[in-house]
């Protein structure tokens, strides 16, 4: 394993203080701690509308924690988080309005185990929209087709699905309400390479057609290469670098060099 602790920070996030105008998510001076252990320490991050942001970092660096903090599942110690220009510490009403405009794919799927696939996908739709059963079923089929699953899957329960199928159903559920932002936590881990490629393709298509903003935590170099517009790297509780794939490849940061020029990376990127 590479150590990220000893290396000095060579690249700092640009424009940390200023909020760029079209930032759909903007995180300022975020600190999150469990007990006395700080996982995130004064982190700043902007995600622009309509971009696909790939988020990388060592295992245990706090990527999932950052995602969970943005969506409000982990309490923060300090800092502000704005999504769609709304401060999420505001009232419950604003929060709920924001919540229906994002979709989340959890690292382990988090499907409702006592509902079948169809009910899982329909769950958020039923909650927010008053539409007929027929349209609900049709939309379910549309989402299933989009994520590359067969219609027969609709009546199975999560315990009867393979790992990759769980990921896809979870994505279908995240997309059920046609959100403006999707948070994906390692969407392609556990998929076969063809499936992972299709997944990247799908995310791209959705971004082009729906103008979706995607916040994607991933370890998949292929995804970073083909799907992501921009890459941010987390280390020591901060963003240690962000930019395009080319910037990452050119970076002299030791961890980044290891990550993007390691043996596995060379096999992918060449």
């Amino acid at each position: 394993m590479t150590s990220t602790t000893a290396t000095p920070i060579t690249e700092t996030p640009t424009g940390a203080a200023s909020t760029s105008a079209d930032a759909i998510i903007s995180v300022r001076d975020l600190t999150v701690a469990f007990g006395s252990r700080r996982v995130l320490d004064g982190l700043n991050l902007d995600v622009a509308r309509g971009e696909i942001l790939g988020f990388v970092g060592a295992s245990g660096a706090g990527k999932s924690v950052l995602m969970r903090t943005i969506i409000g599942l982990v309490p923060k110690v300090s800092g502000t988080i704005e999504v769609f220009g709304t401060d999420l510490d505001g009232g419950d009403k604003e929060r709920r309005d924001v919540e229906r405009r994002w979709g989340i794919l959890f690292q382990h799927g988090a499907l409702f185990s006592s509902l079948n696939v169809r009910q899982n996908i329909q769950f958020p739709v039923r909650e927010y929209l008053k539409v007929s059963e027929r349209l609900l079923d049709e939309i379910t089929m549309a989402k299933l087709t989009m994520v590359g699953l067969k219609p027969e899957v609709a009546d199975r329960y999560p315990s009867e699905l393979s790992g990759g199928m769980i990921k896809r159903v979870a994505l279908a559920r995240a997309l059920a309400l046609d959100p403006e932002i999707v948070f994906l936590d390692e969407p392609t881990s556990g998929l076969d390479p063809i499936g992972a490629g299709d997944f990247d393709e799908l995310v791209r298509t959705l971004q082009r057609t729906l103008g979706l903003t995607v916040f994607m935590v991933t370890h998949d170099l292929d995804s970073l290469h083909t799907a992501c517009d921009r890459i941010a790297v987390l280390g020591n509780g901060k963003i240690i670098a962000q930019g395009t794939m080319a910037d990452m490849l050119a970076s002299q940061h030791p961890w980044l060099r290891e990550y993007f020029h390691g043996k596995r990376a060379r096999a992918v990127i060449g």
């Binding site: 185990s113 006592s114 929209l129 008053k130 009546d155």
Partner: protein, 376 residues
């Protein structure tokens, strides 16, 4: 953001359906109505263009409804086409074009067949439950003998841990409840026996009832509710998260590692709890007899000594380990029967408690008949 509209404009022998506004999930109910009406279009005009060039925003809901409209019109014998798609939205419409019509849910039968179906399944389930119980009893006995031959396989730490959970931690509540029951039994006895001057026989009743039946039965029911349910929930969630499969693949026997220690702990715990419970109930009864009935402690004790023999005590205590086994076996069978869902976990935990209590009472009846026929 403006709401969606769908206007009909006649053009020669064709018809243009001009969609405008934002066709998105937010407006889904309105969209559904618009499209539902347009789908019913019939008429002499064979050519229909669905013009979407004015649509300001489109998502999968909108795209699907447009596609659905096109399909409905085509099936209605029209020549329907979608026109004016921008390049971005064309990809989206292509995506939804691949969607096959929704598969209809399998038709469920009438209410009567559903009821009969349920009854049949339940009766069939009884047989399955009995087989599973016998299966588990066999597996536990086999595991017991394996451990007997290789005592190093015995998991003492685990037994001690479970003993703490099911015995030590249960003492306060068990003692409290049996104490109260003892008080109530004595009070009721005094109240009714007093009418024919038989106050002092309350001690006989209390002693026999508590030592033979109530002490162990009540405690067994409490243990089924408290520890049986915990066993089922623990094993069930381990099953759900494939922990039991993981154990098996590492060459461990789930019965030996998980179930035997729990059974041993329960078999040790229930007699101890039953004993403590019986003592608490006698104490409570004695207290009430003294304060409410005027039977002072020394005459209570001497009466008790006359009224009960060691046999009563033995009859009660012999039942305790057997009931513990029944509760443990039921709880473990239910725990291992949990399927992947949270709902199934809840169902099996409930049925663990219900079946546990049921079998405890059945066993008590069997014991009563047995002891009556051998004359104890």
């Amino acid at each position: 953001m403006s709401g969606p509209t769908l206007e009909q404009i006649a053009k020669g022998d064709g018809l243009a359906l001009c969609a405008a506004g934002s066709w998105t999930a937010r407006f889904a109910p309105a969209l559904e109505k618009l499209v539902g009406e347009a789908e019913k279009l019939t008429g002499s005009r064979p050519n229909i263009f669905i013009d979407v060039s004015q649509v300001s925003k489109l998502d999968t809901f909108g795209a699907w409804l447009i596609e659905r409209l096109r399909r409905a019109l085509t099936n209605g014998g029209h020549e329907a086409q979608i026109a004016g798609l921008s390049a971005n939205y064309a990809t989206l419409v292509d995506e939804v074009r691949r969607v096959k019509p929704a598969v209809p849910l399998p038709a469920s039968g009438s209410a009567l067949t559903a009821v009969l179906d349920g009854i049949g399944r339940n009766i069939y389930g009884i047989g399955e439950t009995l087989v599973a119980l016998v299966d588990m009893i066999g597996a536990v006995i086999a595991a017991w003998f394996r451990v007997w031959r290789h005592p190093s396989k015995f998991r003492l730490t685990s037994v001690v841990h479970h003993l703490e959970q099911v015995c030590w931690n249960a003492v306060p509540i068990v003692v409290l409840i049996t104490f109260l029951i003892g008080c109530i039994v004595a009070q009721q006895g005094l109240f009714h026996f007093r009418r024919f001057g038989a106050d002092v026989f309350v001690v006989d009743m209390l002693g026999v009832l508590v030592l033979r039946e109530l002490g162990v039965l009540l405690v067994a029911i409490m243990v089924a509710g408290r520890s049986g349910s915990a066993y089922t929930a623990e094993l069930g969630s381990m099953k759900m998260r494939e922990e039991i499969d993981a154990l098996r693949t590492m060459g461990f026997d789930a019965i030996e590692v998980l179930i035997l220690p729990r059974m041993v702990a329960l078999v040790l715990a229930l007699p101890i709890l039953a004993f403590l419970g019986a003592m608490a109930a006698l104490y409570g009864g004695g207290l009430v007899a003294w304060l409410y009935g005027g039977v002072d402690p020394s005459s209570f004790l001497s009466r008790l000594r006359e009224a009960i023999s060691i046999n009563h005590f033995i009859v009660g205590m012999v039942k305790a380990p057997v009931m513990a086994m029944v509760i443990g076996i039921v709880a473990c069978v239910e725990g291992l029967a949990v399927q992947g869902s949270a709902e199934s976990l809840g169902q099996h935990t409930t049925s663990s408690v219900v079946k546990g209590i049921f079998f405890v009472i059945v066993m008590d009846g069997v014991f009563a008949i047995f002891f009556a026929s051998i004359g104890i």
